[in-house]
């Protein structure tokens, strides 16, 4: 039985080895690394855009239900009455955006305008290359620099956002791009600092190494995910908040705030270029979620040892879908922040909290052998909860009578 499960678990790896083994006979020597790369890329390019397509439908259905509507439920298989509960919608959307007219403003900087969506999509796709999707399944294992590579690519998306905003020659685009830059630069710091705790504890920048560091089994059944520590729990939520801001998700969707600045930096994009922006945005979110899973939720590890028979890549995908659903739920719940609230939250709350979290993670690591478990837990939580309460006071909504200075 165990062999069967292991075979399913390692099926993508065996398939790739088998294909490569057969190709070795017919293909020249120099082409084999290229083939290997192509074989690693193909599943990423197949799975994640498909996940994006399904997410667009699920998101619209979920938001609809949250607002007591039905959401899309019509488009199924064409020319039949099979509706598939609306899950054919993404194909219709894809055809629509492919056939739409591609409008470029007359005074736009045509080259930059054309390059911006591509310059956004490519780094986002590259970030997937270092994520471990399953046991032995990491397309590009960088033992020294995995996490660094991820963040470096993530940071380069800011450039393309600004390219889009600037080249459109539209004030809304530019406003959106400037908001995006301010937001991404501000939230990059808490994002990296909250990820840094894991690097401190695991002692490696390699993402597969970080997953391995959570493989230890506690009490005979529980995998030691970093989430199951005071600093990991807090760090995960800090990471999620910063990731939502990096990926322009509600409540941090100021760069494209459709009720204020039309569509932000992609106001002037239409047709397939718009679809590429859309795709890149969601793929960026998935990559961020994937990184959060790798850092805090044990990557492809199951939570309990006895669930280990389920293939590792199923665990990764399952956690990813769960996080996506959480983001959809948040989107249906939270209103958008104001720019000053956004900046204040990043610098006055997230940044101090991540620094304190780093400190707590350091204490946790130093006290591994000397202090009993319960004391470490209580101490760690106290060290985090008190600053959380103190810092959070300034950000609570104050509901009172409104004063309209000029109306009185």
């Amino acid at each position: 039985m165990a062999e069967v499960f292991q075979a399913i678990d390692q099926f993508p790896v065996t398939l790739k080895t088998w294909l490569l083994g057969h190709a070795a006979g017919v293909m020249p020597e120099w082409a084999l690394p290229l083939l290997s790369a192509a074989l690693s890329i193909t599943p990423i390019l197949a799975v994640f855009p498909l996940l994006f397509a399904l997410t667009t439908v699920i998101e619209r259905k979920g938001l609809g239900r949250i607002q007591n509507r039905r959401g899309p439920n019509r488009v199924g298989i064409p020319l039949t009455n099979i509706r598939l509960a609306g899950f054919g919608q993404f194909i219709a959307d894809g055809i629509k955006s492919l056939t739409k007219e591609d409008i470029v403003p007359r005074s736009a900087d045509k080259v930059v305008h054309f390059l911006a969506p591509i310059a956004l999509l490519i780094p986002v796709l590259l970030t997937y290359s270092v994520l471990p999707f399953g046991r032995n399944m990491v397309p590009l294992d960088l033992p020294q620099t995995g996490l660094l590579f991820f963040f470096a690519l993530g940071a380069s998306t800011e450039l393309s956002v600004f390219m889009a905003g600037w080249s459109s020659r539209n004030k809304y685009s530019l406003l959106g791009a400037m908001r995006a830059i301010a937001q991404m630069v501000s939230y990059e710091i808490p994002l990296i600092l909250s990820a840094l705790t894991v690097v401190m504890i695991a002692g490696t920048l390699s993402l597969s190494g970080i997953v391995e560091s959570q493989a230890e089994v506690r009490f005979g059944f529980l995998h030691s995910w970093h989430l199951f520590t005071p600093w990991g729990l807090v760090g995960f939520f800090l990471f999620l908040t910063a990731a939502a801001a990096e990926a322009n998700r509600t409540p941090f969707d100021l760069p494209e705030a459709e009720s204020e600045i039309i569509a932000g930096y992609f106001t002037e994009y239409s047709g397939f270029k718009f679809a590429i922006f859309f795709l890149a945005e969601y793929l960026g979110l998935f990559a961020m979620c994937g990184l959060g899973i790798t850092l805090f939720l044990g990557g492809w590890l199951p939570p309990f040892k006895f669930l280990g028979f389920i293939p590792s890549w199923c665990w990764f995908l399952g956690k990813l879908v769960a996080l996506i659903l959480l983001f959809i739920w948040l989107r249906g719940t939270l209103p958008r922040l104001r720019t000053d609230q956004l900046m204040g939250f990043a610098w006055k709350f997230l940044l101090p909290m991540t620094l304190i979290n780093l400190f707590v993670a350091g204490l946790w690591h130093l006290s591994v052998t000397s202090v009993p478990m319960t004391v470490r837990w209580i101490g760690g939580f106290a060290l985090l909860a008190i600053p959380y309460w103190l810092l959070g006071r300034g950000f609570e909504a104050k509901v009172g009578k409104r004063e309209y200075r000029f109306a009185n």
Binding site: R65, I66, Q67, N68, R70, G332, T333, W389, G392, A397
Partner: protein, 226 residues
């Protein structure tokens, strides 16, 4: 504490999410082409032209005065006045629109044309299924399509139609009363004149034809007061 509000909100949306599946009462929308909700009395889409007779083209109330054409903010009404005249609902001779087009791709459903029309002739329709494969010609609606019977108007906007009918009835009554008054005045005048002539004849000097001032059919004033 920071975050409790977020959790409360998330519980609320989760309740909505789950509730919309097991409690159809919550759903505020219907599945449109198959299910429809009863039309609302105050709904309005695009203007229509009211007619009173069997033949829509003969009974249009519109007299082509072109007030609506001038007042329409986006200028989407196009009217050509007829060369000849015909009797309107009061039996009065009026022009009629030879062409009456509304470009519903431009019309913004503001109802200003309805407010300014002095003849209760243009009203808002509730027809909304107007999609068309011809984006230019197909959305230019001619008077043949615009003409709708007064019964239709009564059905879709009962209260407004009753008010409009009352205005028209009052107009007709006023016109009839005026015609009657005019006729009586004329008759009285004719009688007085006849009497005067008779008196003169009695005097025996003027052999005048007394019948020449017999009451003629009265013609109503050229334009009724709105």
């Amino acid at each position: 504490m920071l975050g409790t509000g977020i959790l409360k909100g998330m519980v609320e949306t989760a309740k909505n999410f789950a509730g919309s599946y097991h409690d159809p009462e919550r759903l505020t929308t219907v599945e449109y082409p198959e299910q429809r909700i009863a039309p609302k009395e105050n709904a309005r889409q695009f203007p229509m032209l009211i007619h009173d007779t069997e033949d829509p083209m003969k009974g249009l109330r519109c007299v082509a005065c072109q007030i609506c054409e001038k007042e329409c903010p986006p200028q989407c009404i196009y009217i050509v006045k007829s060369k000849d005249k015909r009797a309107d609902y009061k039996g009065q001779m009026q022009f009629y629109p030879a062409t009456f087009d509304i470009d519903i791709s431009v019309c913004m459903s503001c109802q200003i044309c309805v407010e300014v029309c002095p003849f209760e002739s243009i009203k808002m329709d509730t027809e909304f299924e107007l999609s068309n494969t011809d984006r230019f010609g197909g959305l230019l609606i001619h008077k043949e399509q615009l003409a709708k019977s007064n019964e239709h108007y009564r059905k879709i906007h009962p209260a407004d139609a009753a008010a409009s009918d009352a205005v028209l009835a009052a107009e007709v009554a006023k016109a009839q009363a005026k015609a009657k008054a005019d006729a009586e005045a004329k008759a009285a005048k004719a009688a007085a004149e006849a009497k005067a002539k008779a008196d003169a004849a009695v005097a025996g000097t003027v052999p005048a034809p007394a019948t020449s001032t017999a009451p003629q059919p009265t013609s109503p004033p050229a334009a009724p007061a709105a």
